[in-house]
């Protein structure tokens, strides 16, 4: 009897030990928390991060920029317009419903109604159910980037979001402003279930017990996300042990995090290019390619990466980073003050001129500081710069109005493909087609022609040649002032194995995160 009791006790102790050892609470401090629980309400980095925690896409990016099967286990191209996806079986939603093809179609159709995503889905014809675990995705024309886009196809629980909520509003409503069911309720197939959401204060999640991916090494059981807006405070929170993970890490604090024995810094190259655009419609001199060249030569972007970004960005001379199809190795940074001065002289602007410059101060990493440094650098070739920096809420208005002669713009390709940069940043601005939406006025018809041709070219080598030619033209034209591609940086505690779960898209897969 006594023996039995002891055994029982021992078993209990082991069990309780196992439970407490297994319970890992993970606290994350980000600059902002997701605006909604609805994965389709806004196309932004923060919302996509959340989508990877609470939902699952058909496929996702790996660190090597390959596609990893998630809800789709395999896929094949049936013809020029169709790709067939085979779906995973035995997957449960948080609500208990079973995941099938109808959820994929339902989510796809809902996404088309979302203002934010509808542009991205423009090339698609539709999603067709073949059977419970097979769907066909069709495009209108031959489209080389279907799989890239499939990383956006997160499955929502169609049954859960069907019907009307207590306000009599359909549960699938996508609302930017006002209460909607999906704003505060979520049912996905992802590794975490949302348990509490207080916008701008805290988002609490716990591990989904029936998560389909039993091979995932992830051991986080409680996941608490707090927004900490101020950079210094966020770093202080990590250093004082208040949180396990912070992002983004301001470059000025890299050294401090690296030198601390309790925390470490994890970095990965990202694809967001930071540029300044010169507006030829506002400044006559910017029509002269020599002046544009002079400006590009006057900007010491290597110095900016070294001093302001503390080495955690990749110096750029073109739009797309290495690994993208259009990347051309021969295009290298070209800081050369003497040459810049010579070019100014050649163009007849030896005495310089005065311009206005605008940049946001809370959009990109160290945006205002980069702008300030640029203003100083242009001063050296006689261009007097009146700089104004402002919060992004005001900046976008000014950008739409092209309110300054030089304006900062950063861009990350949604499709992880070079063409996307040109479509938004360097094609001739055209209000009808929407191309060049973020272009300050540079226009070269050849760039337009090549970009459009590349959109429906499925032959990789031919596409590559086109995209590289675009980069070369932009380089020779000095179409914009390139700075760098931002790295993603994370400050984490030493026991957090961050390296395996991060990627160039800045979607840390916390579901697979291991805490020692």
């Amino acid at each position: 009897m006594k023996k039995l009791l002891l055994t029982v006790l021992a078993v209990f102790m082991v069990m309780s030990f196992a439970v407490s050892a297994g319970a890992k609470t993970f606290k994350m401090g980000l600059d902002a928390d997701p605006v909604s629980l609805d994965p389709q309400v806004q196309l932004s980095g923060g919302m996509l991060q959340l989508s990877h925690w609470v939902f699952d896409p058909l496929v996702r990016w790996t660190q090597e920029m390959d596609f990893e099967p998630r809800l789709a286990t395999s896929w094949e191209r049936l013809d020029d317009l169709t790709i067939r996806f085979h779906l995973r079986k035995g997957v449960k939603f948080h609500s208990g419903n079973t995941f099938t093809a109808k959820d994929v179609k339902w989510s796809f159709d809902r996404m088309r109604k979302s203002v934010d995503f509808k542009g991205l889905l423009e090339p698609f014809d539709g999603c067709y159910i073949v059977d419970d675990y097979t769907v066909d995705i069709k495009t209108k024309k031959a489209y080389p980037l279907v799989l890239n886009m499939a990383t956006y196809f997160f499955a929502m629980d169609s049954e859960f979001y069907t019907g009307t909520d207590e306000n009599g509003q359909p549960k699938d409503a996508i609302l930017k402003i006002g209460e909607s069911f999906a704003l505060n309720n979520a049912s996905g197939t992802g590794p975490f279930i949302v348990t509490k959401r207080q916008h701008n204060v805290v988002l609490e999640m716990k591990r989904f017990a029936d998560y389909w991916d039993k091979n995932s090494p992830g051991n986080v059981t409680e996941f608490i996300l707090s927004p900490i807006k101020e950079n210094a405070t966020r770093v202080a929170a990590l250093l004082s042990g208040g949180v396990d993970w912070i992002s983004p890490v301001p470059p000025q604090d890299f050294a401090r995090i690296q030198n601390d024995d309790k925390v470490k810094l994890v970095n990965i190259n990202g694809g967001r290019i930071i540029t300044f655009q010169m507006n030829p419609n506002r400044v006559e001199a910017f029509k002269d390619v020599r002046v544009r060249q002079a400006i590009v030569h006057a900007v010491n972007n290597e110095g900016i990466v070294k001093q302001i970004m503390k080495g955690t960005a990749t110096v750029a001379a073109q739009q797309g980073p290495e690994g993208y199809l259009g990347y051309k190795e021969t295009l290298t940074p070209r800081y050369d003050l003497a040459k810049a001065k010579a070019l100014m002289k050649e163009a007849g602007y030896e005495n310089g001129f005065e311009i206005s410059m605008m940049a946001p101060n809370n959009r990109y990493v160290n945006d205002a500081k980069i702008a300030e440094a640029t203003a100083q650098m242009l001063g050296k070739i006689g261009i007097k710069v009146n700089l104004k920096t402002m919060p992004k809420a005001q900046y976008w208005n000014e950008f739409d109005a092209r309110a300054a002669d030089m304006m900062m713009i950063g861009w990350h390709s949604d499709t992880e493909d070079s063409g996307n940069f040109s479509e938004f940043l360097t094609m001739c601005p055209n209000a009808e087609t929407g191309y060049g939406q973020y272009n300050s006025g540079y226009c070269n018809p050849r760039v337009d022609e090549l970009t459009i041709a590349a959109q429906s070219e499925t032959d990789v080598e031919k596409r590559k040649a086109m995209l590289q030619e675009i980069e070369q033209i932009l380089y020779d034209d000095a179409a914009f002032v390139p700075f760098h591609w931002q790295n993603h940086s994370y400050g984490v505690k030493k026991n957090v194995r961050a390296q395996p779960v991060i990627n160039a898209q800045n979607f840390p897969y916390i579901g697979d995160l291991v805490i020692e």
């Binding site: 050294a255 010491n300 900016i304 001093q307 100083q376 009146n386 700089l387």
Partner: protein, 306 residues
């Protein structure tokens, strides 16, 4: 008849000044500060507002007594590669210009309105003091934030850099006039029934003359005391606004914007970008406050307790 100078040298004012070490020391430091601010363009190692002198590769160099410091930059450089010493000199200059200007505006509005309210009384008094009450019931920092947001919006973003100093001066000046108005009104109320005012009235002097020539000089001591304290307040307000990002533009940093910029580098070890301008500002405000305290004790011990 004594000359003005003799009058001054034999005054109680100077006597008590000479006996007070703190007052003398503060005054000396203040004179040095004023000199630096005035002479900044000539005594600074470089002009931190001119981009030709600034090289990003020189950023975040520590003060010369630390490892990695250089003689070229005695107090180190900030995150853009500006010499800290020069930037602090220029920043002080900006702070003082804004501080004095703002107080001049406050005093001008406050004195005129306070005189009118106190001397004329009745409806004028009621309306003016109601206005002061309303503005006073809002914390001046909030008023300043609100106004600077409006000003920036109205004047547009592009020209802000050139307009920053006058705009800030006006904003801080406008947001703090009730203090003056109230004090002047109180002293005018005390003076206006005195015999010399009666006399002036009897001989038929116009009201304007009585107010400005007769009453005002007797209320000036309180103006002086308040002015000193208000200069300190104005300098702090400018720093606070700049800290909030509503003050001086990044290319022409004031002490407040330097502290703000440096805050980000505090944790990474570049403490000097925050601490040096911080100490500089505190020291400057401190000497003004010490002098203000002393003035208050000497001139008018019972005045203004807030």
């Amino acid at each position: 008849m004594k000359t003005k100078l003799q009058q001054f040298t034999e005054s109680y004012f100077l006597y008590s000044f000479r006996r007070d070490m703190v007052a003398m020391a503060s005054f000396a430091v203040l004179v040095i500060f004023l000199f630096i601010a005035f002479a900044a363009p000539w005594i600074s190692p470089m002009n931190p507002y001119d981009s030709v002198n600034i090289d990003i590769m020189n950023s975040e160099i520590p003060p010369m007594w630390m490892d990695g410091g250089s003689k070229e930059f005695p107090l180190g450089t900030d995150n853009q590669g500006r010499d800290m010493l020069s930037t602090m000199f220029y920043g002080l200059r900006t702070s003082i210009i804004i501080g004095l200007g703002a107080v001049a505006i406050q005093a001008a509005i406050g004195v005129v309105l306070g005189l009118m309210a106190g001397y004329l009384g009745g409806k004028t008094d009621a309306i003016l003091m109601r206005l002061a009450d309303i503005q006073f019931s809002f914390p001046y920092l909030m008023v300043a934030i609100f106004m600077s947001a409006i000003f920036q919006v109205v004047f547009g973003a592009g020209s802000f850099e050139q307009m920053a100093i006058p705009l800030l001066t006006i904003i801080i000046g406008l947001s703090n006039w009730p203090m003056f108005a109230r004090t002047i009104r109180a002293s005018v109320m005390g003076e206006k029934n005195k015999e010399y005012v009666e006399a002036a009235r009897v001989i038929g002097l116009p009201q304007r003359i009585i107010m400005f020539r007769h009453i005002l000089p007797n209320a000036l001591t309180s103006v002086m005391v308040i002015s000193t304290i208000q200069v300190a307040n104005a300098v702090m307000s400018e720093a606070a606004l700049s800290f909030l990002g509503l003050g001086m533009p990044v290319t022409k940093p004031s002490l407040g914007s330097l502290i703000r910029a440096g805050q980000e580098f505090f944790f990474s070890g570049s403490w000097w970008i925050t601490v040096l301008p911080g100490l500089w500002l505190v020291l400057f405000v401190l000497v003004i406050n010490l002098l203000g305290d002393w003035l208050r004790d000497v001139l008018n011990p019972k005045l203004y307790k807030g």
